[in-house]
């Protein structure tokens, strides 16, 4: 290796470094290094004159490498590497020696701090003396996006992406788009009908030429990397050809199997062959194979006989599709906390104790009662309805520690809707406190209390039980300090939101993190709220945390925008500090292959080969290799040893 011509630039950082470190001495010591041809100190290296001085020195001294002794590389590594490039150097021959955060700011003894700053700077000098010029690795981009989840978040993200000209593959587990939002009756605080605002968007998705809609499908595997993912998707058979299906309902009329209807939260029943609801997208029936007597014309076959359009095909097979995409948006949504975990509230076994979504179905004009609020047990109109907030939420001892955020608002909406349906009934609401931050939210809650005369009781419910056809609710009102017992006709629990069952699977398949509560983890809680830790995978909606519809829509649009920014680049770049193999030393033992977390190494003709694009440069392979046959570029064992020597005063 020919000797390097290195320049060292020591920054005073005003007094931040210079007060504790003798910067002139650091520069002087560095000048004594064999490879150093110029060493300077300056009051603010990152200022315009400071940067110009670096560029000028590179040109004047024909430098081929640079060390800047200054603050943490997280702050100005990019600044000085850009400078190096501007002066005609390769930016990977520029290194930062952190003598501020890791030295000047944490020590008071000037002599000791100066000694340490010299060691840090010298180790950087030794490192660049072994540094090679590297060029960023360019990778192509597939301008398509995979959206996982067909609720409002997935729908919004897909439409934004498609309208920006990108192709979208939208994968939904259920037989129809719509998610939980389509189950809602009205939405707070304006009380628009949920179907009326969501259905047009669903239709738009189904008709959009840029969107490939895959319902009744599940993501199985994802490989690849940002810009070039490969997603393996399982398309489950519906046994009905959506092109031929006329949604005439002849098939379900003759189907002999009756099972609970999940779309109505089991408040109604459906047949094995069914359509979740009349406006479902795609507009086609689905044969639920788990409920069906067995796809065998000898056993049943009634639906097939009844279908004049000949849309039913018992021979339909599961299909695996591989889609190439450049970015992925995860919008897998929420599930409600399980009632079975709530012993004090009947464990889900009391018929007239409902969860919030079931109550939505009762209020909905397309619901089981055609919009009349009736008790599921005897179909009478309930006159006393108790709404309980924070069920499962804000209870770190037994349930979820977090606040589910939307329950205060939807309980107010439920109480209000109930009073509109049953003006002579009484709505009781037990709450801990009311969290109504949002445009028009507080006013809505006040209206519910004042105009709709819902009775708000500040306190929790200890238990409830059935008695004489009623539900006795044992609560407390902490404002009056009295216990409250209500003989309710119906109880509605505002259950905690939790990440949907599919969220955990998606996180595993995509190798993205989840937080302590199981929601998808964002890359930074404030500055990267829609990015996951995996570059190219974005988050939207309630899979990331409890949120209401406006927030979900905003986050979905933000995630779409991030994907658009990513895919608007012709080529993406990947850091070139990747592993390289010294073929002469490699014996093909495969230890590096096993150690690599990215499956970036494989054997070819008995020697390890690194896929530059998959390699992240972590160096675990090089620390594993017993023959020093694999090393990360610009962080080689040779360089490391020289840095160790420098640190120990050699």
């Amino acid at each position: 290796m020919s000797k390097k011509r290195t320049g060292v630039f020591v920054c005073h950082c005003g007094n931040n470094i210079a007060a504790t470190v003798d910067v002139a001495r650091v520069a002087q010591e560095m000048a004594g290094e064999e490879s150093v041809v110029c060493a300077k100190d300056y009051v603010y290296m990152c200022s315009d004159p400071g940067q110009n001085a670096v560029i000028q020195a590179i040109k004047d001294n024909q430098l081929d490498s640079v060390v800047v002794s200054c603050c943490s590389p997280t702050l100005h590594e990019k600044t000085f590497r850009d400078n190096a490039r501007a002066a005609g150097l390769n930016e990977f021959t520029c290194e930062i020696a952190n003598i501020r955060e890791q030295c000047a700011w944490v020590h008071k003894d000037r002599a000791k701090a100066t000694e340490k700053a010299i060691k840090i700077s010298r180790s950087a000098v030794r490192r660049v003396s072994g540094a090679k010029s590297l060029e960023p690795i360019g990778i192509g981009v597939t301008r398509r996006v995979l959206v996982i989840g067909g609720g409002i978040a997935g729908i919004q993200a897909s439409l934004d992406l498609a309208n920006a000209g990108l192709e979208v593959v939208l994968v939904e587990k259920q037989a129809t788009l719509g998610g939980h939002m389509i189950q809602l009756s009205e939405t707070f605080p304006t009380l628009d009908c949920s179907q009326c605002i969501l259905s047009p968007k669903m239709v738009e998705v189904s008709r959009h030429p840029k969107i490939k809609l895959m319902t009744y499908s599940e993501l199985q595997e994802v490989s690849g990397y940002v810009g070039n993912f490969k997603a393996k998707i399982l398309k489950k058979p519906t046994y009905v050809d959506p092109e031929k299906c006329k949604i005439c309902d002849d098939c379900s009329q003759v189907c002999p199997v009756v099972v609970p209807n999940q779309y109505d939260l089991n408040l109604t029943a459906r047949r094995a062959i069914h359509i979740p609801y009349a406006q479902a997208i795609p507009a086609s029936y689905t044969l639920d194979i788990k409920a069906c007597l067995g796809l065998n014309p000898v056993v049943c076959g009634k639906c097939k006989d009844a279908c004049e359009a000949q849309a039913i095909n018992y021979d339909m097979q599961p299909e695996t599709v591989v889609e190439d995409v450049g970015a992925i948006i995860v919008a897998t949504g929420f599930d409600l906390y399980g009632q079975e975990k709530l012993g004090e509230f009947g464990q889900g076994k009391i018929e007239d104790v409902l969860d919030g979504l079931q109550f939505e179905r009762l209020c909905s004009a397309s619901g089981p009662t055609k919009g009349r609020i009736l008790r599921p047990s005897d179909h009478t109109e309930p006159k006393d309805v108790v709404f309980i907030q924070c069920v499962g939420s804000r209870d770190p001892a037994r349930h979820c520690a977090y606040c589910s955020k939307i329950c205060c608002m939807y309980t107010a909406k439920h109480a209000s809707l109930y009073k509109h349906h049953v003006p002579d009934g009484r709505a009781w609401v037990f709450y801990i406190d009311i969290r109504s931050g949002g445009k028009g939210y507080e006013e809505f809650v006040q209206r519910t209390m004042e105009e709709d005369e819902a009775i708000y009781l500040r306190g929790r419910v200890s238990t409830l039980y059935q008695q004489n056809g009623k539900i006795r609710v044992m609560g407390t009102d902490t404002l009056s300090g009295e216990n409250v017992e209500i003989d309710a006709d119906m109880v509605v629990l505002a259950l905690a939101m939790q990440p949907s069952a599919g969220t955990a699977e998606a996180a595993k398949v995509l190798k993205i993190g989840r937080d302590k509560d199981g929601f998808l983890a964002e890359a930074h809680p404030k500055l990267k709220p829609v990015e996951s830790v995996t570059v190219g995978v974005y988050l939207a909606g309630t899979a990331q945390g409890p949120k209401d519809i406006p927030e979900t829509v905003s986050q979905a649009s933000a995630a779409a925008a991030k994907a658009i920014i990513l895919l608007s680049q012709d080529r993406l770049t990947h850091a070139p500090t990747v592993a390289q193999v010294r073929k002469s030393h490699c014996t093909g033992c495969e230890m590096c292959v096993d150690a690599c977390p990215y499956e970036a190494i494989h054997l070819e003709n008995g020697k390890a080969v690194v896929n530059d694009v998959l390699c992240e440069g972590c160096g675990t392979c090089s620390a594993t290799c017993v023959r020093a046959a694999i090393e990360v570029k610009n962080a080689t064992p040779m360089q490391m040893n020289q840095m160790i020597e420098a640190v120990l005063g050699f």
């Binding site: 955060e101 944490v106 000791k112 060691k119 675990t620 620390a623």
Partner: protein, 152 residues
């Protein structure tokens, strides 16, 4: 194994300062030490940092090389187990470097001279404490001569 004897061989002097090489992973521990700086948390200047991509990239050879070149202590600090930026690098580090401790003991070097810690980017105070504790624990051991190439 007469560690007691080593102590006697190294009469504690007021001026003895253990030399520590600290391998810090870029994503957590180096960021944590930056936070200690930003928070102006003071700690002894004995540990000189070498920032690496991942604790998993610290080869046992680096540790031995540091001792051969006269380090009195070697610290390897990475992300908390389960939080590795490269998913599993710190598991590799933990498994591999545990053996270094055993090797040191075998060669007669006090295994306490080698330490691993898990310091996140949010743990500036913890980083400072790790260095303080290590320096305090190294002082009674005196300088490390067993593995050093030539006595200085």
């Amino acid at each position: 194994m007469s560690r007691q004897g080593d102590w006697n061989l190294n009469p504690m002097s007021e001026t003895y300062e253990p030399k520590i090489v600290a391998f810090l992973c870029k994503w957590c521990s180096s960021a944590g030490s930056d936070l200690a700086g930003v928070s102006r948390i003071q700690y002894p200047a004995n540990a000189t940092p070498i920032t690496v991509a991942c604790s998993g990239s610290v080869s046992p050879q680096y540790v031995l090389s540091a001792f051969k070149k006269g380090a009195d202590g070697v610290l390897v600090s990475g992300c908390h187990i389960g939080d590795c930026h490269y998913m599993e690098g710190n598991y590799h580090a933990r498994r591999k470097l545990y053996l270094v401790k055993e090797l040191l003991e075998f060669t007669g070097v006090e295994p306490e001279r080698f330490r691993m810690s898990w310091v996140s980017a949010a743990e500036g105070a913890k980083f400072a404490q790790v260095v303080r504790d290590f320096v305090d624990d190294l002082r009674p051991l005196g300088s490390q001569d067993k593995m050093r190439n030539e006595p200085t």
